[in-house]
């Protein structure tokens, strides 16, 4: 199980580490994670885009009973965030007490530890939102 997850996360490094998205060459719409075919026009030609790492909270929920790998972080806010490029993604809001998380607030994405299976396992890294 742990090995399967290690391989999966490794394949997702461009997105988890650098927020690599792609842009449809026909409509200019940005997709994250990148698409192979654009919905609507079936275009398969894209250009690579690195998201700016800035966005705004669209909505959020407070996780009080968290899955095991995140249990020590609870309570925390899990937010839907719209990036400057118009992409919406889900991310934990870190470094901010839950009562201070607000819809519309500006956030930056930072590189953080996401989780680990246990103290002997691989550590998984990726993006989280922090107050701008």
């Amino acid at each position: 199980m742990a090995q399967t997850l290690t391989a999966r996360v490794w394949r997702e490094q461009p997105q988890r580490y650098r927020m690599i998205a792609n842009r449809c060459t026909r409509t200019g719409k940005v997709f994250f994670p990148p698409r192979i075919v654009a919905p609507g026009n079936l275009n398969a030609e894209f250009e690579e885009v690195q998201l700016s790492g800035k966005g705004k909270v669209v909505t959020f929920t407070i996780i009080r009973v968290a899955p095991t790998p995140y249990a020590d972080l609870a309570p925390y806010a899990l937010a839907v965030i719209e990036t400057e490029e118009g992409v919406r993604l889900t991310a934990q809001v870190s470094d901010l007490p839950i009562e201070q998380v607000k819809i519309g607030m500006s956030v930056d994405f930072e590189f953080r530890r996401l989780f680990e299976d246990n103290e002997a396992s691989v550590i998984y890294y990726g993006y989280k939102a922090v107050p701008a």
Partner: protein, 351 residues
Amino acid sequence: MAVGIVGWGCKLPRNRIKLEEIAAVWGADAPSYKKGLLLYEKSVPSPDEDVITLAVGAARNALKRSGIDPRKIGAVYIGSESHPYAVKPSGTTVSEAIGCSHDVHCADFEFACKAGSESMYVAHSHVKAGEMPYALGIGADTSQGAPGDALEYSASAGAAAFIMGTEKVVATIDFTHSWMSDTPDFWRREHEHYPQHAGRFTGEPAYFRTTLGCANALLEKSGMQASDFDYCVFHQPNGKFPQRVAKMMGFDINADQFKVGWLTPWLGNTYSGASPIGLSAVLDVAKPGDKIFMVSYGSGAGSDGFIFTVTDEIDAIRNKAPFTRPQLDENKRYLSYGEYTKFRRKILRNS
């Protein structure tokens, strides 16, 4: 050909704990600690921060300032004594996260608190030798201090990164010098959670003999004296040691020459990050033509010394990334000792 820093960046956690909060738990006399060590509060990493994440944050800020393509970086070095893994490099994760190519020489350095300046030293040497156009040196730590030990009042977290290059250099490296001896003042054995230290021996002969050995040799090599410098930065395990060594060298500890790069009273000892973060704070405000004197210190023991001259290029990139001092002074979140022990995984659990 001028060789030196083409971009610098710093990353500090937002969490702090006050010295009084720690002292109250252990029945220690906070005022005497504050007076004796000149320590008021220290940074604490969030549970999702470690050496790798802080190093990425600092390196991204250095990249923003330099404006270079990360794929042109030929070496990525991270100095730390709290790498997240015992076996698995921190540098590979940092390289991937900042967008370096796979054709990179990558290594993690360890030499107690000197590991950060080591990474800068080697990065500079590669570029100076013409081996690569750019090399990245980072000092980062989430320092360990055993509960109740004197180190718990200082051990903190932070990172600073420096990209060395030859084009649009903002601070040339004019002289370097390294000094070392086998002086076992502070150590951590394999599988041990916390370092041990030799009490007052860590000051004299360890810190002072080593720092002065390097600093005096650097002055002799350069033919300069303390009054020739606009800024000085020393390793700062507490507030007092760098003050004393600067005074012994003839620097003015009541002037900006010393105070701008002296952060430990409010930051704590960021170990491998300590003198690099001090240098970052100096570069944030330095003017073209300014001379900077920097000497690190790592237990065991050794010092790396650098003399920098700031160039006209600095004004064009200074504002492209967050400054050091605001990261230290603003948006702070104070922790209780209980939160601190949870964040630092100091609580023993059965699971």
